[in-house]
């Protein structure tokens, strides 16, 4: 082609459609393109499961806080400074030796952004959304988790109105640990209920690796 430099190849249709949305909304004064980049930066770099891990670690070390968290999660989470879109109405469900909780959004991908960030890809996938309801133990196995048959598994469906967060059980061998150290044990998956927190041994291994 002799005109290679005279044009730019248009991107995929969907990218053009997003540019269309953005430019039309900006012209109408409905969005501020500068603020868009700020929002992207926040969701890409600043909001993530580390916030949720702080909530969990505090609940592990402060019984009064745990009580507040289980009775009014939205307010207790806000105490730590975490609130905002998709965190307006929170419920925290506690794992115990008898009960394991896990979270799904069967309709789309409702997820507590202020505490966990944006959901991982699999959380948004059709197989997870449908199968977790039909066969939660089977789904857990795919995450490498097998629970004793005696343990009850409860699946919670997050929605537009309210979102769930799992309070995992505190790992054994962490007595006397400071909250700041416990934070490093709390994984995203453990707060969705498809994983467990790291053990103290995991942490030592990581430090040695």
């Amino acid at each position: 082609m002799s005109h290679d430099h005279d044009h730019t190849d248009p991107p995929a249709d969907i990218e053009l459609r997003v540019k269309a949305l953005e430019s039309v909304l900006a012209e109408k004064g409905l969005i501020d393109t500068g603020a868009l980049d700020e929002l992207i930066d926040i969701y890409e770099n600043k909001i993530g499961p580390r916030n949720g891990a702080r909530v969990v670690a505090k609940a592990w070390t402060d019984p009064d806080y745990k009580q507040r968290l289980l009775s009014d999660a939205t307010a207790a989470i806000k105490e730590l400074g975490f609130s905002g879109v998709q965190g307006e109405d929170m419920v925290v469900v506690e794992n115990t030796p008898d009960v394991h909780n896990m979270i799904v959004c069967t309709l789309c991908s409702c997820y507590p952004w202020p505490t966990l960030g944006l959901p991982p890809a699999w959380f948004k996938s059709a197989p997870y959304r449908s199968r977790v309801v039909i066969d939660p133990r089977g789904v857990l196995k795919e995450f490498g988790i097998s629970l004793s048959d005696e343990k009850e598994v409860r699946v919670w469906d997050s929605s537009a109105e309210l979102r769930y967060l799992v309070l995992p059980e505190r790992p054994a061998g962490t007595d006397g640990w400071h909250e700041d150290r416990l934070v490093d044990l709390v994984t995203r998956d453990s707060m969705i209920g498809v994983g467990f927190p790291k053990s103290s041994a995991d942490l030592h291994q990581q430090a040695g690796a």
């Binding site: 730019t8 992207i40 969701y43 996938s125 109105e161």
Partner: protein, 135 residues
């Protein structure tokens, strides 16, 4: 069906910048109180149901394809812009790309007229055409 537990390659939230833009457009409108989140979930979940992942499509590509369509529906339902206006604008952007020399910023104005410089000519300082009179 087994679950695909693959995380995005570098652990980033979005696979492509357009996904980040579609997401943040929606969140900004919501934060400004332009719609109720329940309405978004209603439209988005209907779109997910109606247009499931295609064979070979990654989870994020399917998810944000559904997201973008849902956003177009929301925008038109809110009366901000009808779907045909959005489609026409997308075509304008396509023309803008085609008219923009490689390496230059893509401006919507280029859809109508290629940027000056691409068809630059030295000033003629003379008529560009003359039709001789009979006198």
């Amino acid at each position: 069906m087994m679950l695909d537990l693959t995380e995005t390659a570098d652990g980033r939230t979005f696979d492509h910048p357009w996904q980040a833009h579609a997401f943040s457009l929606t969140v900004q409108l919501y934060k400004d109180g332009r719609f109720a989140w329940e309405d978004w979930v209603r439209i988005f979940s209907a779109e997910i149901e109606a247009a499931p992942a295609l064979p070979g499509e990654s989870i994020n590509d399917a998810y944000y394809r559904q997201w973008v369509r849902a956003l177009e529906v929301l925008i038109s339902q809110l009366g901000f812009a009808p779907r045909d206006q959005l489609a026409a604008r997308a075509e304008e952007w396509r023309r803008a790309y085609r008219n923009t020399p490689h390496g230059h910023p893509i401006l919507l104005a280029n859809a109508v007229c290629a940027p000056s410089g691409t068809h630059y000519q030295a000033p003629l300082r003379a008529p560009i055409a003359v039709s001789a009179g009979t006198r």
